[in-house]
Subunit: 450 residues, 2 copies
């Protein structure tokens, strides 16, 4: 089932010149596993193994290789003839994906070895904006013309099935290539040979535009449980389709982006272990600086109350507890709201429902937390009842306020067209810190003056 | 393209008894959109609309309804005969999904109106553990026997296509129902009528076990770009398949779980706006309590240095900046590592590579942050060079330490079989807070004593 040759065994087979055994293994293995294995080999051996791959899977393996330096090395090392065969077997969208990552000499070598039609298509694809439907789509799909019979459609399908990335959904266009409908292979198989496509197709299918954002494509696919979406250009002509496996990758990419933004980092598409130290530091430092400078504002509040603090130094011991709890309450609320918006469950018009819910949840949490805290200080610490009271009342207010700020900020961000994910824990924490300490000092001044 | 009747218009049509117009609209609309619309109607009108839905889409609409109370209301209100027709049209996995959420009287009404075979199957499905492959699979798929010709297979396929959730991949079993191979519909269409299935199928296909976790199913599907995975029982018999649209839902569910855990909440499968205040508070309060009590440990450290603080009260103003920056650095590192592990890019054996990388990234960030901080205090604050130096050196150490703790904890958690997502910002922040303040006081004591 799984590909079970280790790297050591591969190296061993190569050194012993056991090409026959190696080739048999490779013919049985899954292209994904072979690609993962190639990554572990040094460049020379990788190339040797790549060249003995059965012809029908070598393009597949190539498209699954994630190490772009290895891909470049392959293209640089193989003959022009082999490049032509490779590009011929690759789906166009995979070719474009890999060309985007290649150095100029490799791109040139590839383009020089493709025919003019493909070259034009590649250049057109490279012009679609990053993360647009156009950059994601494939052009290898099955399309029928209005008026065809099922027999003619099936003949067309048989003739083109090998070159198409998916055949279970086919698309129907008119003479100007405008999308008119979709027809499932299931329906074709069940229909009479003489039936006309127009009568069995589903008209007004959902479609997206080449310039639509990939996030929109993903949300539509999920909402309607589709396995492919047709893509049209601005004249309404069918130019490609996006298949579900690429949508799954988009979903994971968008989620990773949200995770990174919510931890105050600029998103990056590189894998962790493959990202350089400086580019990683660069993605992190901007937010760290902004948040560090914002936190000095909280410091100013503390400085303002130096006299109070001097006369009741015990107050300082409760900063971390107050700030942390506030931060946690705020990020719980903001995470729920950010995620709810990402999944389309919460919208701007729900703001009052969300706030009302968070106020009540905050009230329950605040009650429990401040009661526990009051008893803990009273029983385990020498600070006394007044301090316990001051701290617990501040905690109570902090929890409710944090929940409120935490749920409101992401919705406001969305309203002013910022990414809600930016309003996550780090920023919320910094804002909540300042509020909770200001509350704390205000309450302490009032109550300790008695 | 989109379903464009508003709730008000629907209400209006119902009040005017315009059933014909309404019915025409519904026949054209997408079941997903109809289900969303039903949610906005009151129960009586919802039921009226549901009952005039064209027969071929009512089961579809029902399975897309997300409000379980509405589903219960439908089943309670329709006749036994209608229940029978509904369950007949639903795919078994959708029936089971909805029964899991229903009150006892609805479950009884449904089971009383299904034939014995279906009833047995439903009961068997309800026994699979939550989040297992068994609970996710569908039993409506196409299977062939070893030895069949392509002609026989295609006849079988035509006869069963309507009742199958997907037909683009078919499965081949032997006489004991053991999975022997898979065959793509594409290959069937291209093959000769007399060809034997055994020769065109792909043998040793990837499959999962009924008891495998859904997370494993999702990762295999993504890794190998599959659109369906066969599921076998512990004797190796083919019992179901899992289709990509359900895998997409699993991916989103697992991501939501990670987001929630990483913000110190117990994960919940309910939609935000549909979750009650108390169950929401319950999901949040446990971690809030744990973290609040842990933060008092940091408070103890501050108390321990009360004398130092009393003689240099200005030190207190830098707590928030130090604690926040430490927390942010830690959660950046932990988020990257948690996400990397979730996507299979980072494993336990990478721990030293990860730590070495974070140490270097930490060094770069620490250098920039502490330099900016030193200059800021020197220029804008009256604290003086010694305090600026103490704060900046502490910041430097805090950043490096936080990055190190942040990247190490999730990996350690995985090693001891805890969920890495628990080691996210909130917990890391609490740990880092204590460390950064301890460092700060230690350095202050040394340097201010000079």
């Amino acid at each position: 089932m799984e590909f079970n040759l280790t790297v050591d065994q591969i190296n061993d087979l190569i050194e012993k010149n056991e090409w026959g055994i190696l080739r048999n293994y490779l013919a049985e293995a899954n292209p994904v596993d072979i690609a993962l294995l190639l990554e572990e080999l040094d460049n020379d051996k990788m190339l040797l193994v790549f060249r003995i791959l059965p012809k029908d899977i070598s393009a597949d393996v190539f498209s699954y290789m994630e190490d772009t330096e290895q891909q470049a090395h392959v293209v640089e090392s193989i003959s022009n003839h082999e490049v032509r065969a490779l590009i011929d077997d690759l789906f166009l969208d995979d070719t474009v994906d890999f060309l985007e990552e290649m150095p100029a000499n490799v791109v040139t070598k590839v383009l020089r070895n493709t025919n003019e039609t493909t070259r034009k298509l590649i250049n057109q694809f490279l012009k679609y904006p990053d993360n647009s439907a156009g950059s994601l789509m494939t052009i290898e799909f099955i399309q029928f013309r209005l008026g065809w019979t099922v027999r003619r459609a099936m003949d067309h399908l048989r003739a083109n099935a090998t070159d198409s990335e998916m055949i279970s959904t086919c698309f129907v266009v008119d003479e100007r290539r405008h999308l008119q409908g979709i027809v499932e292979l299931r329906q074709l198989i069940l229909a009479e040979d003489d039936a006309i496509i127009d009568n069995i197709m589903e008209d007004t299918p959902l479609c997206v535009n080449t310039l639509d954002d990939q996030e929109y494509v993903a949300s539509q696919t999920q909402k309607y449980d589709l396995t492919s979406v047709p893509v049209t250009d601005k004249e309404g002509r069918l130019v490609g389709i996006i298949t579900i496996d690429d949508v799954v990758d988009v979903i994971e990419e968008e989620n990773t982006e949200d995770f990174e933004k919510m931890a105050a980092m600029q998103p990056s598409e590189e894998e962790y272990l493959k990202t350089g130290v400086f580019s990683m530091a660069k993605n992190r430092i901007v937010w760290l600086l902004v948040l560090m400078l914002s936190a000095t504002f909280t410091g100013r509040i503390i400085q303002h109350y130096n006299d109070l603090l001097q006369s009741a130094i015990v107050l300082a011991a409760y900063y971390p507890m107050l700030m942390n709890t506030g931060g946690n309450c705020g990020s719980q609320a903001s995470t729920m709201v950010i995620r709810g918006m990402a999944l389309g469950e919460i919208e701007w018009r729900d703001i009052f429902r969300v706030q009302w819910k968070e106020l009540r949840v905050g009230f329950v949490c605040a009650l429990v937390l401040s009661a526990v805290n009051f008893l803990r200080i009273l029983i385990f610490e020498p600070a006394g009842a007044t301090i316990a009271f001051v701290v617990s009342i501040s905690l109570f207010a902090t929890v409710i306020l944090s929940k409120f700020i935490g749920c409101t900020m992401p919705l406001l961000a969305k309203k002013v067209r910022l990414d809600p994910a930016l309003m996550a824990s780090p920023l919320i924490t910094t804002i909540v810190d300042a509020c909770s300490l200001a509350l704390y000092f205000f309450i302490a001044t009032k109550l300790l003056a008695l």
